[in-house]
C-alpha cells in the first residue's frame, strides 16, 4: 500500500465528452498519487475508455482540464489537450483496449515508432536496444525484439505495448482491460510486474471487469456509471458486493443454480482427433458427453484445443478420427448449416467477428441463421413486416438496448451485442448450446444475464457446453467440469479450484488430488 501522502501526479478536473446524443463522460474528477494503483470500474459503456482516451489525447474533451506532474520538481502542470504527443512527453503511457500495434513491424520498430527523429538517413538502434534490454531485465517483460508483432501471442503483444510506454519513460501507465485477453496465469504475472513497478514509483490506472483481480491488486477503486463518477473507495475497505452495488446501482445477485437430473446425452464425442487450424492445438482423442438439463464446463488454459473443440461442435471442422454424435446420431454433414439444423446453438468466442454482421440491422442479424424458414421468407422474398415484429419482441424480451431493430449491430456495446446473439440462439430452442467465452469483456450485469439465460435453457431441457478461461465462471455455472489439456479432456473428480488448476497445468486427476 503506497503512503496515502505520496504526492499527486495526475489531476483530472471536470472532464466532459459528448458523442452526438451520448454523454460519454460528465464532468469527471479523478486524482492519482505517485506509486498508486487505481482500478477504474464501470459497466459496459460507462465511459471508462473515453475518459482514458481524453487523458492520453486521443479525444479532445468538450470541457475540463488535466494536470500532470511532468517534471523532476513534481509540480502539477496543465497538459495540452487532444495531443498524444504531449501526453507521451508528460510521461503518460497507455495500453489500449484494442492494441495499437503495427503487425507488419518488429517489436523494436513498434517501440521506437515516434520516439526517434523521423527524418534521418538511417536508424541508430543500438542505444535504444540497450535501454529496452535494461527495462526488460528490470521488469521481466521479455519479448523477442526482432520478431514481427504479427507472430507474437496476445500476451507478448501486450508486453510490447507496456514496453512502448516504459521506453518513453512513462510515470503514469494506463491499461484498458489489460487482462481481457490474457490467460489467468498471464494476468497474475502482469499484476506482479505492475505491483513491483508501482513500488518503484510508477502510478497505474487499470480498467477491468474482473472484480477478483481488482480486489487483489489495486490500492484504490473509482467507479463510473452512465458517464459520471459515482464513487471511490480504498480497496482494503471494499468487498465484492459493495463494488457491484456501486457499479450497477443496485444489489447484484448471481442467478441460482437449482439441482437437476440430467437426461439423455445430447452431445457425445468418442476419441475425436482433429488437427488445429493455423498451427494451434487440435484435439487428440478427446471424449466428452453432455446430457440434457446439464451444463458441462470446459476449463483450461486457452490454446489447448478449445478452438478446435468449438470448431468441431459448430460444424466448421470434421473429426479426422473418432465420432461425434448429436442425440445419438451422427450429423448429416459437418457444416454449420447441418449442425444448426441438428439443434446446435452457438455463442461464438469472437462476437464482433463471428457473431454478428456489424453493418446489418439487428432484425437482419436475428434471422441470419434461418433464411429459408417459412416464418422468415416466402418464395424467395423476406417477410419484412414479420421479421421486424419478431425483432421488436426479441429485443424487448432479451433487453437488447440500442437504436432498435433497424439500427446497425456494430453500434451496440459488447454486452448488448451478446444479448442479441443470445436472442438468436435461444429463440430456436436448441438441444445443445455451445457457449464459447460467453462473458468475455462483459460487465457484471451483462455477465449475470448471460448466466441466467444459460441456466434457463438448461431448465428447459437443453445441454450446454461452456468453454471458458474464467474458472470462477465455470465453477459457478457448471454441473460437471472437464479440463482441457493438450487436446485431451479429463473429467475433474471434484469442483475443487486448486485441483482443477493443477489439472489445467497438465497433472493427471489422481496426481492433482
Amino acid at each position: 500500500m503506497p503512503p496515502t501522502d505520496a504526492p499527486h501526479v495526475l489531476r483530472l478536473r471536470g472532464l466532459t465528452k459528448r458523442f452526438g446524443p451520448v454523454l460519454a463522460n460528465d464532468s469527471i474528477d479523478l486524482d492519482l498519487r505517485r506509486g498508486e494503483i487505481l482500478a477504474l470500474l464501470g459497466e459496459n459503456g460507462a465511459g471508462k475508455t473515453t475518459l482514458m482516451n481524453m487523458l492520453f489525447g486521443h479525444y479532445l474533451p468538450d470541457s475540463g482540464a488535466i494536470e500532470v506532474a511532468d517534471g523532476a520538481d513534481g509540480a502539477l502542470r496543465a497538459l495540452p489537450l487532444g495531443r498524444p504527443q504531449a501526453a507521451l512527453r508528460a510521461g503518460v503511457g497507455m495500453v489500449h483496449q484494442h492494441f495499437t500495434l503495427a503487425l507488419n513491424l518488429s517489436a523494436l520498430d513498434n517501440i521506437l515508432l515516434g520516439a526517434e527523429p523521423l527524418f534521418a538517413l538511417r536508424r541508430r538502434t543500438g542505444a535504444a536496444r540497450r535501454k529496452i534490454d535494461a527495462i526488460m531485465a528490470r521488469t521481466g517483460l521479455n519479448v523477442d525484439l526482432d520478431a514481427p508483432v504479427g507472430r507474437l501471442t496476445v500476451g507478448e503483444r501486450q508486453r510490447v505495448e507496456i514496453l512502448k510506454a516504459l521506453y518513453r519513460d512513462a510515470r503514469i501507465l494506463v491499461l484498458d482491460e489489460p487482462t481481457a485477453v490474457l490467460t489467468p496465469q498471464e494476468a497474475d504475472g502482469l499484476f506482479q510486474t505492475l505491483g513491483a513497478m508501482a513500488r518503484e514509483g510508477l502510478s497505474v490506472i487499470f480498467i477491468s471487469h474482473k472484480l477478483r483481480e481488482v480486489l487483489a491488486f489495486s490500492h484504490r477503486i473509482a467507479v463510473l456509471r452512465h458517464g459520471r463518477k459515482v464513487g471511490e473507495m480504498r480497496t482494503d475497505e471494499a468487498d465484492l458486493p459493495a463494488i457491484a452495488r456501486m457499479m450497477v446501482g443496485q444489489d447484484v445477485e448471481s442467478p441460482p443454480r437449482p439441482p437437476m437430473t440430467p437426461g439423455e446425452p445430447v452431445l457425445e464425442l468418442r476419441e475425436v482427433t482433429l488437427a488445429g487450424a493455423g498451427g494451434r492445438a487440435g484435439l487428440r482423442g478427446a471424449s466428452l458427453r453432455v446430457h440434457a438439463r446439464e451444463i458441462v464446463g470446459v476449463a483450461g488454459v486457452s490454446g489447448n484445443g478449445q478452438a478446435a473443440l468449438a470448431a468441431l461442435v459448430s460444424g466448421l471442422a470434421a473429426p479426422e478420427k473418432g465420432e461425434l454424435l448429436l442425440r445419438g446420431a451422427a450429423p448429416a454433414r459437418f457444416d454449420p448449416a447441418a449442425m444448426i439444423a441438428a439443434g446446435v446453438g452457438r455463442i461464438p468466442e469472437d462476437r464482433h467477428h463471428d457473431g454478428v454482421v456489424g453493418s446489418m440491422t439487428l432484425a437482419e442479424n436475428l434471422i441470419i441463421e434461418r433464411l429459408d424458414d417459412p416464418a422468415v421468407s416466402r418464395a424467395g422474398f423476406l417477410r419484412r413486416g414479420r421479421i421486424r415484429a419478431e425483432a421488436e419482441r426479441a429485443c424487448a424480451a432479451y433487453d437488447v438496448r440500442g437504436q432498435g431493430p433497424d439500427g446497425a449491430a456494430r453500434l451496440l456495446s459488447g454486452g448488448n451485442m451478446q444479448k442479441l446473439i443470445l436472442a438468436r440462439v435461444f429463440e430456436r430452442a436448441p438441444d445443445l448450446i455451445l457457449a464459447n467465452q460467453p462473458t468475455r469483456g462483459l460487465d457484471l450485469g451483462a455477465a449475470n444475464e448471460v448466466a441466467r439465460r444459460l441456466l434457463e435453457a438448461r431448465a428447459r431441457g437443453a445441454g450446454v457446453l461452456l468453454i471458458s478461461e474464467d474458472l470462477d465462471e465455470i465453477l459457478a455455472l457448471s454441473d460437471r467440469v472437464v479440463v482441457m489439456h493438450e487436446g485431451r479432456l479429463t473429467e475433474a473428480p471434484a469442483r475443487d479450484r486448486a485441483q482443477i488448476g493443477l489439472m489445467m497445468a497438465g497433472r493427471g486427476a489422481e496426481e492433482a488430488a
Partner: protein, 313 residues
C-alpha cells in the same frame, strides 16, 4: 529457332528495360502510396499529366532535367488533390482516384490543345540520349540492355534502391509502413497519420509524374493523345505482384517489359500465321498469371483503403 534468336538478341533486352522504365517509376509510386494505406488510382492520369508537363516544359525552353522536375511537381500536385480527398476527408479512394485520373488526363489534353491549337503533327523535342558507358556497354546482352539506356532509366534503378532504403531503414519508412498497417498505432505514438499519408501520396504521385515524363522525354520525343495506354493500371497490378516490396516491383516491371518486347518480336516473326491481337494480349495474360501465382501469398497493408479519422472508433 526464332524464339532463341529473340532471346539472344541484344536489342530485345534493351527494349525490355526501356519498356519497363516508366513502369518502375509508376509501381514504386503506387507502392509508396499503398504502403501508407492509400490506393492511388489517379496513376493513369498522373502519367498522362507528367508526360505532358515534362514535354511541355522542355518545348517551352526548359532543360531536360527541368522537364523532369516539372513532371514531378505536376504529379505531386495531382497527388495532393487525391490525398486531400482521401486522407483528411476520408472519401472513397476508388472514386477519388478514378476522378483524379479523369481530371489529370483531361487537364493534360486541355493544356496541350490550348498551347497548340492547330498543329497536325506534334512538335518534337530533343529527348534524353542513351548513355553509352564505355567498356560496360560491350558486355554481350547485359551491356546494351543496361548500359545503352538514358539517364531516366538509371534514375529508375536508383529510385528503386532509394525507396527500398527509405522504407526499410529509415524512421520515416517505418512510420509510413505503420500508417498503412494500423494508423491507431501511429497516432498512439504521437505521430500524425494525416501527415504521413498525405506525404506518402504526394511523394508517390511525384514518382508517377516522372514515369509519365519518360514516355515523352526518352521513349518518344513528343506528346500524343492516349500514349499512356493503360500503363498506370499495369502498375497497380504490379504492386500486388511485388507484394509491396520495391525489389520485387523492379523485377515485376522488368518481367512485364520482357513480355511486351517479346510479344512485339513474335508478332514480326509469326505475324502472318496468327492474329496480331493474340500477341498484344500476351503480356497482359502473362501478367495476370504471374499475379494469380504471386498474389496468393501477398500480404496486404492491413489498413489499405480504410480511412482513419482522429478521435473516432
Amino acid at each position: 529457332m526464332e524464339l532463341l534468336d529473340i532471346l539472344t538478341n541484344a536489342n530485345f533486352w534493351a527494349a525490355a528495360v526501356r519498356i519497363a522504365t516508366p513502369l518502375i517509376f509508376g509501381v514504386l509510386g503506387a507502392l509508396i502510396c499503398e504502403r501508407a494505406g492509400v490506393l492511388n488510382l489517379g496513376i493513369e492520369g498522373i502519367f498522362t499529366a507528367g508526360a505532358m508537363a515534362g514535354w511541355m516544359a522542355v518545348w517551352l525552353g526548359a532543360s531536360l532535367w527541368g522537364g523532369v522536375l516539372a513532371a514531378a511537381l505536376t504529379g505531386a500536385a495531382f497527388g495532393l488533390i487525391h490525398a486531400t480527398l482521401t486522407v483528411p476527408m476520408g472519401l472513397s479512394q476508388h472514386v477519388s482516384g478514378l476522378g483524379v485520373t479523369m481530371l489529370a488526363t483531361s487537364a493534360a489534353y486541355f493544356a496541350y490543345r490550348t498551347a497548340l491549337p492547330d498543329v497536325s503533327s506534334p512538335p518534337r523535342i530533343t529527348p534524353f540520349q542513351p548513355m553509352d558507358v564505355p567498356l560496360l556497354s560491350d558486355i554481350p546482352l547485359l551491356g546494351p540492355a543496361l548500359f545503352q539506356q538514358t539517364a531516366l532509366t538509371w534514375l529508375a534503378f536508383a529510385m528503386t534502391a532509394l525507396v527500398w532504403w527509405a522504407l526499410a531503414r529509415t524512421p520515416l519508412g517505418v512510420a509510413l509502413r505503420a500508417a498503412g498497417d494500423n494508423p491507431d498505432a501511429v497516432d498512439a505514438q504521437g505521430l500524425s497519420v494525416y501527415g504521413l499519408r498525405m506525404g506518402a501520396v504526394t511523394a508517390g504521385s511525384a514518382l508517377m509524374g516522372v514515369g509519365g515524363a519518360f514516355l515523352t522525354m526518352s521513349a518518344f520525343d513528343a506528346f500524343f493523345f492516349g500514349m499512356v495506354n493503360g500503363r498506370g493500371w499495369i502498375c497497380i497490378a504490379l504492386v500486388i505482384f511485388a507484394s509491396w516490396r520495391p525489389g520485387k516491383a523492379l523485377l515485376g516491371a522488368l518481367l512485364f517489359g520482357a513480355f511486351d518486347a517479346f510479344q512485339v518480336r513474335l508478332q514480326t516473326a509469326y505475324g502472318g500465321q496468327v492474329p496480331g491481337q493474340l500477341f498484344l494480349m500476351a503480356p497482359y495474360l502473362l501478367s495476370i498469371l504471374a499475379l494469380v501465382l504471386a498474389a496468393r501469398r501477398a500480404e496486404y497493408p492491413r489498413a489499405l483503403l480504410v480511412p482513419w479519422f482522429k478521435g473516432q472508433r
